[in-house]
C-alpha cells in the first residue's frame, strides 16, 4: 500500500503522468510534478537524510520547506528539500549524509 489518498471528500486529484526516477541508483516511480518526498514516501522510502553530527536518520517532517529534515541530493546538488522539490522524470535522488557532497562547479 503506498498511502496515496485516492478519494477525498473535498480535494480532487487530477490525472498526472507516471514517471520513473532514481533513488540511490534504484529505479522508482512517482507522478510528475508531485513533491519528491511524496513519491519517495509512497515508494516506502522514509529515511532521506542522515544528521550532521550523530548520523541519525531524518525524514519527512514539516512538509512545507521550513525545516532541514528531508534534505536530499538531487542530480548532485546537496541541501535540496525533498518536500518542496517537484518530481521530474529521470531525476537522480540520493540520501544526503551530513552536509552532503562538496559543492561542485556546474555550468
Amino acid at each position: 500500500m503506498d498511502l496515496r489518498i485516492e478519494d477525498h471528500p473535498i480535494l480532487s486529484f487530477p490525472e498526472r503522468k507516471k514517471v520513473k526516477f532514481f533513488w540511490e541508483g534504484r529505479e522508482v516511480w512517482g507522478y510528475e510534478g508531485e513533491p519528491v518526498a511524496s513519491a519517495l514516501h509512497a515508494a516506502g522510502i522514509k529515511v532521506l537524510h542522515k544528521s550532521l553530527k550523530l548520523d541519525h536518520p531524518r525524514g519527512f517532517f514539516c512538509a512545507i520547506g521550513n525545516c532541514s529534515s528531508c534534505l536530499v541530493v538531487i542530480d548532485g546538488v546537496p541541501n535540496v528539500r525533498a518536500c518542496t522539490a517537484k518530481l521530474r522524470a529521470g531525476m537522480r535522488v540520493e540520501m544526503q549524509r551530513g552536509a552532503g557532497p562538496a559543492p561542485s562547479d556546474r555550468e
Binding site: 550532521l52 532541514s68 546538488v77 546537496p78 541541501n79 551530513g98 552536509a99 552532503g100 557532497p101 562538496a102 559543492p103 561542485s104 562547479d105 556546474r106
Partner: protein, 382 residues
C-alpha cells in the same frame, strides 16, 4: 558581586576574558569582570574568527605569532571540556593588483625575518590549495599554513570558565556607569549592580572603549564602524584555508561545521554604532564571492549579521597605561583583529599590571604614540 577587588576588567569579550584569566593565573586574588550584556555579545561573537600571522607590520606579526603559539594549546591550558575549534588550515591571501603584489613581496620578506613561514604562490599553486578558486585576473597569492580560525564563543567561554575556577567574579548584565578617581588614581567603579572599590581598572570594552575612557577623562582617537557578514548552510568540505583579498576587501572561510562564513569591507560605511544589516550587502557579497569561488552559486545563505570594528588611526591596538591616571589600563582599538590577538594581549596586559616586564615589547603601542607622531603602518587590513 564583591564590594572590592584587586582589579576590575570592563568587557566580557575575548580580550577582557583573557586579561581576567591571566591576572588570576599570575596570582592576583580578586578580579571582577563587568560585562553589560552577556559574554562575546559585542564584537567578539560577531567576528570572522580568523587568526593569521600574515601581517604587514612588525608589531602585528609578532603579536599574532605569539597568539597562534598560545591558540595551539589553549583548550588544554584552560582545561576546557569542549572544543574551541581551532583549525590551522592556513590563510590564502590573493593579489589582484600590481600594487598589492609588490606589497605582499615586502610583507613576506618581513614575515620571514620574524620567523613566519609564509610563501609567495603563483595562481596555479594557489589553485592547488583551493581547487574551487577562480584565478582569473590573479597575479599571485601568499599562504601560511599556521594561520587559521577558531570559534569565538567557545574561546571566550573557555577563558571565562578558567577565570571562574581561579576565583574570578564574572558579572554579566552589569554595566559600568561611572569611575571614581582620587588624586589621579583609580578608586571605585560604579555599576548598575553596585559599586566596587579597586585600585586597578582595565578597559577592554571593545566598541564602547571610548565611552569608558571618557569616564576617567581619557580621549581615545578611535571610531566604530559596522562590518557585515553572512553564513551559508553547511556544505561538504571544499575550502581548507581562509581566502582573503585586500583589494576586493573580502574574507571567506568554511567552519568545521561545514557552513561558509564571509564578509566584505565597505569603504563607504558610515562611522557609528549601527549593527543592522542590509540587502545591498547580501547582493554585493554574493556577487563577489561567486566570482572568486563559483562553486558557492547554489549554496544558500542562512543568516547575516554585523559587528563593529573599533578603528585606531594606524589600525594597531592601543595597549597599556595612560600617564596621569594611575591604575587605569586599556586594551582597545583592535581595528578588526582583536579576536586573534586576545590570548597574547591577555598575557601582556597582566604582566604590565603586575609590574613585570612584558614578554614582547609593546611600549610603542601606547596611547602616547599618536601625540608623539609615531604612527604604525599596517597595509593589510580588510
Amino acid at each position: 558581586m564583591r564590594p572590592s577587588a584587586d582589579a576590575v576588567v570592563i568587557g566580557g569579550g575575548v580580550v577582557g576574558a583573557a586579561i581576567a584569566y591571566n591576572l588570576l593565573k599570575s596570582g592576583m586574588k580578586s578580579v571582577v569582570l563587568c560585562e553589560k550584556s552577556t559574554f562575546a555579545s559585542g564584537s567578539t561573537g560577531r567576528c570572522g574568527a580568523g587568526v593569521r600571522e600574515q601581517w604587514g607590520a612588525e608589531h602585528n606579526i609578532r603579536l599574532a605569532k605569539a597568539s597562534i603559539d598560545m591558540f595551539e594549546h589553549l583548550a588544554e591550558e584552560l582545561g576546557y571540556d569542549q572544543d574551541i575549534e581551532f583549525k590551522q588550515k592556513g590563510y590564502l591571501i590573493l593579489a589582484h593588483t600590481e600594487k598589492e603584489w609588490d606589497q605582499f613581496k615586502k610583507n613576506v620578506e618581513l614575515q620571514h625575518r620574524l620567523g613566519v613561514n609564509s610563501m609567495l604562490l603563483t595562481p596555479e599553486e594557489a589553485k592547488d590549495i583551493v581547487p574551487a578558486l577562480n584565478t582569473e585576473g590573479m597575479l599571485g597569492a601568499t599562504y601560511n599554513s599556521r594561520d587559521g580560525h577558531a570559534n569565538p564563543f567557545h574561546t571566550t567561554r573557555a577563558f571565562l570558565q578558567a577565570a571562574r575556577r581561579l576565583g574570578g567574579d564574572i558579572c554579566f548584565f552589569t554595566e559600568v556607569t561611572a569611575i571614581e578617581l582620587e588624586a589621579g588614581k583609580v578608586k571605585r567603579v560604579r555599576t548598575s549592580r553596585g559599586d566596587i572599590s579597586s585600585p586597578v581598572l582595565v578597559n577592554a570594552a571593545g566598541p564602547w572603549a571610548a565611552v569608558v575612557a571618557k569616564m576617567v577623562g581619557v580621549d581615545l582617537p578611535v571610531y566604530t564602524q559596522r562590518h557585515q557578514i553572512l553564513v551559508t548552510e553547511p556544505v561538504g568540505w571544499f575550502l581548507d584555508p581562509m581566502v582573503m583579498s585586500f583589494s576586493i576587501g573580502i574574507y571567506c572561510q568554511q567552519t568545521p561545521h561545514g557552513s561558509v562564513v564571509m564578509g566584505i569591507g565597505d569603504p563607504d560605511e558610515p562611522k557609528g554604532y549601527d549593527t543592522g544589516h542590509s540587502w545591498q550587502f547580501l547582493r554585493e557579497m554574493a556577487s563577489i564571492v561567486c566570482r572568486l569561488l563559483p562553486v558557492l552559486r547554489d549554496v544558500r545563505v542562512v543568516r547575516q549579521w554585523s559587528g563593529l570594528y573599533t578603528m585606531t588611526p594606524d589600525a594597531h591596538p592601543i595597549l597599556g597605561k595612560v600617564p596621569g591616571v594611575d591604575g587605569y589600563y586599556q586594551a582597545v582599538g583592535f581595528s578588526g583583529h582583536g579576536f586573534m590577538l586576545a590570548p597574547v594581549v591577555g598575557r601582556l596586559l597582566s604582566e604590565m599590571i603586575l609590574g613585570k616586564q612584558p614578554f614582547i615589547d609593546i611600549s610603542g603601542l601606547d596611547l602616547g604614540r599618536f601625540e608623539r607622531g609615531e604612527y604604525m603602518v599596517e597595509p593589510s587590513v580588510v
